[in-house]
């Protein structure tokens, strides 16, 4: 039985349809991330699950019960807000126990719950402080503690880390993941940060314009995107889209990439990645999707044995990040980004021999940006 099931939920604001028939199901203990650009409807969906926004049509089930028309309080959920939303006039202890008090839990049990949560999040020393005396990270912790104390069926996180600075965000991210692994809670988590989505999720739902475009594991969404939007949204630096022409026939498809002032580049398409749909597209313009890490510098020691298709290009910019180097090089009409090892010594303007891992490349139709192969 799924912990949370959303069936054909629609939400209109006036004449504007913000959610268009969204359906998804989450298993108990699963960590689902809703990700998408701002305005894609992910926060609206979150509010609909919480009961803070009534849906226009559709059903929401939590643990098998239809809660579509129940109040937020009756749904047995807890939410962590972006602004933390701590009660400013109460101490940390008061903040954590308020929800328990409202649910008429006896005082002794309430105190035990506060102690348990404070131990779990290592904030026992903060219990008697007011939210205004806490740092951003501590407030975030209290907000999580408040949610954990109630032990609800589903946890909702609404961009919980976006108000923290970069370093703290990474620490808290790890902490949330540890917490989920320890407690096995069911979590729906909204973010616009695709790295958060990749690192935390069991499954990711990529949303755009009120639709779920793709629902899958981080690996599926990253390596097997359904269209150019998902492919471009996930990953940083984002996937390179290279305009190409599809040539050949089944068994020997190839991609011709026209680069100004250079010879045309022809990349053979691996046979095992062929799809029937490709046949119809022969002779048409397609888009080749290559992630920066699908490029690698030619290693002379592996000469002859290295996998991938060789190509060479003139480097225009080299950006070392420490762990690796990002190179910008012209390929087709636009520049692409390639991620190479930190030892690759190349000066701007020099030609570099590279290999492309075509087995991991993806191919899109140019007209409607959907996946071809």
């Amino acid at each position: 039985m799924s912990a949370l099931e959303i069936r054909k939920v629609r939400k209109d604001f006036g004449s504007e349809r913000v959610l268009k028939e969204v359906s998804l199901a989450i298993d108990s203990g699963e960590f689902l991330i809703l990700v998408g650009p701002s305005g894609c409807g992910k926060s609206t969906l979150m509010n609909a699950i919480a009961g803070l926004e009534p849906v226009t049509s559709g059903e929401i089930h939590i643990a098998g019960e239809d809660v579509t028309w129940r109040t937020p309080a009756e749904r047995d959920i807890a939410m962590v807000f972006q602004s933390y939303a701590l009660y400013p006039s109460m101490t940390v202890r008061g903040n954590i126990s308020f929800g328990l008090e409202m649910r008429k839990m006896p005082k002794a049990e309430r105190e035990a719950a506060v102690e348990r949560v404070a131990d779990l999040l290592q904030m026992s020393h903060l219990l008697d402080r007011k939210p205004s005396q806490l740092s951003g990270g501590q407030r975030q912790r209290v907000a999580m503690g408040r949610a954990l104390a109630r032990e609800p069926k589903v946890y909702l996180f609404d961009e919980p880390l976006s108000n923290l600075d970069a370093k703290l965000r990474v620490d808290m991210r790890t902490e949330i993941k540890k917490l989920h692994q320890r407690l096995g809670t069911t979590i729906v988590y909204v973010t616009h940060d695709q790295i958060e989505a990749m690192t935390l999720a069991d499954r990711i739902a990529v949303m755009r314009d009120g639709h779920i475009l793709q629902l899958g594991t981080p690996d599926e969404v990253y390596n097997d995107p359904v269209d150019m939007f998902v492919a471009g949204f996930m990953g940083s630096p984002s996937m390179n889209f290279i305009a190409a022409t599809l040539e050949g026939a089944p068994g020997r498809f190839q991609l011709r990439i026209v680069t100004p002032e250079e010879d045309d580049l022809v990349l053979p398409w691996p046979r095992q990645r062929e799809t029937p749909a490709m046949t119809e597209q022969v002779g048409r313009d397609v888009v080749l999707g290559l992630r920066p890490e699908h490029f690698s510098e030619e290693d002379e020691r592996l000469a002859g044995q290295a996998e991938g298709t060789p190509l060479s290009a003139r480097v225009s910019v080299s950006e070392p990040t420490g762990a690796d180097i990002l190179l910008r090089l012209p390929l087709g009409e636009r520049e692409v980004t390639a991620r190479v090892g930190p030892t690759c010594r190349v000066a701007p303007g020099e030609r570099l021999a590279l290999r492309v891992d075509m087995a991991r490349a993806v191919l899109f139709e140019q007209a409607n940006e959907t996946r071809l192969a």
Binding site: F81, S89, R150
Partner: protein, 309 residues
């Protein structure tokens, strides 16, 4: 480059000020001096003079024959002063409490994302734009048993209806409360509304998820957040109450008899119409004491709060 070259010049200017530099340093003080002098003389000077007069036996004209705290002793024995002080307690207490309750209630209603909020806000706030004299005169007509509400209800056929607080010595002070609440509650509403708007929406959402009912959300979560607003509102209302003079003059004239006197009208009556300057000054000093008793804790907490950031 320009930064390094300008530095020596600044240093020289500081060590050997030119006449222009000296003028620049003194200019703010020169500009402010007249208003400082005027307020020193007319506010603090007259305060001091009033205190001196309160220690003398001045009657129609100021005299400087000191009688110690004799005037204060006379004041304490004066029945009319006690009526005025009791009235201030009743008027001030009710005025502040009703304004706060009504203002907060109106603000909460107005905060429910309703249509035409701007227009409604203006309507409620408008009485504050009127002078207390106007308010007093309007309510004098409304409350006049022969002209206003009582006459109207009787003309509808309820012959026995009586609403004669204005001419009833026991109730006259409450008519002041009605008029003053009408005037000031819209202002308090505006203060509360601003406070409510400052509260993060998601706090209310969080409380909803925590299972609190709407009245509880307001009582336990929202209103405690409004404590600074309540504090400012009480300060403003309390000092309006203490210095209330025009409303009494326009609405009841302190009457019937002196049943609705407030300290301010008492002071005016004795100092300027009954030739008791000494007694009037003593009552003025007690009013000042009352204002300071409210103001000093307020300033103290405000300034201390700022330091803690």
């Amino acid at each position: 480059m320009s930064l390094t070259s300008s530095r020596p010049r600044v240093a020289r200017a500081a060590s050997r000020p030119s006449s222009a530099g000296r003028l620049q340093a003194w200019l703010p003080r020169l500009v402010l001096a007249p208003s400082v002098a005027i307020s020193l003389f007319f506010v603090y000077g007259f305060m001091l003079w009033t205190f001196i007069l309160s220690l003398t036996n001045s009657r129609l004209l100021p005299s400087y024959e000191f009688v110690g705290f004799g005037q204060y002793a006379r004041l304490m024995a004066n029945e009319r002063w006690w009526v005025a002080s009791t009235n201030l307690m009743i008027f001030g207490g009710l005025f502040v409490l009703i304004c706060l309750a009504l203002g907060a209630f109106l603000a909460i209603l107005l905060d429910q994302r309703i249509r035409q909020e701007g227009a409604l806000r203006t309507i409620y706030l408008y009485p504050m734009a009127l002078s207390f004299i106007v308010t007093g005169v309007v309510w004098k007509w409304l409350l006049n048993p022969g002209l206003g509400i009582q006459a109207m209800v009787r003309s509808w056929g309820f012959e026995s209806f009586t609403f004669d607080w204005l001419v009833n010595p026991d109730m006259a002070v409450y008519t002041l409360v009605i008029a003053a609440v009408w005037q000031a509650s819209g202002f308090v509403m505006a203060l509360f509304l601003a406070g409510l708007r400052g509260i993060d929406d998601s706090i209310i959402k969080a409380a909803q998820l925590d299972g609190a009912s709407l009245p509880r959300i307001y009582l336990r979560v929202v209103v405690p957040c409004l404590r600074p607003v309540v504090f400012s509102a009480v300060m403003i209302l309390a000092h309006i109450a203490i210095k209330s003079f025009d409303l009494v003059v326009a609405l009841t004239g302190g009457g019937p008899g002196y049943a609705s006197d407030l300290p301010a009208t008492f002071m005016y009556a004795h100092a300027f119409t009954r030739a008791q300057i000494g007694l009037g000054s003593a009552s003025a000093m007690l009013m000042l004491g009352g204002v300071l008793a409210i103001l000093i804790p307020y300033l103290y907490s405000e300034l201390r709060g700022r330091k803690h950031g």
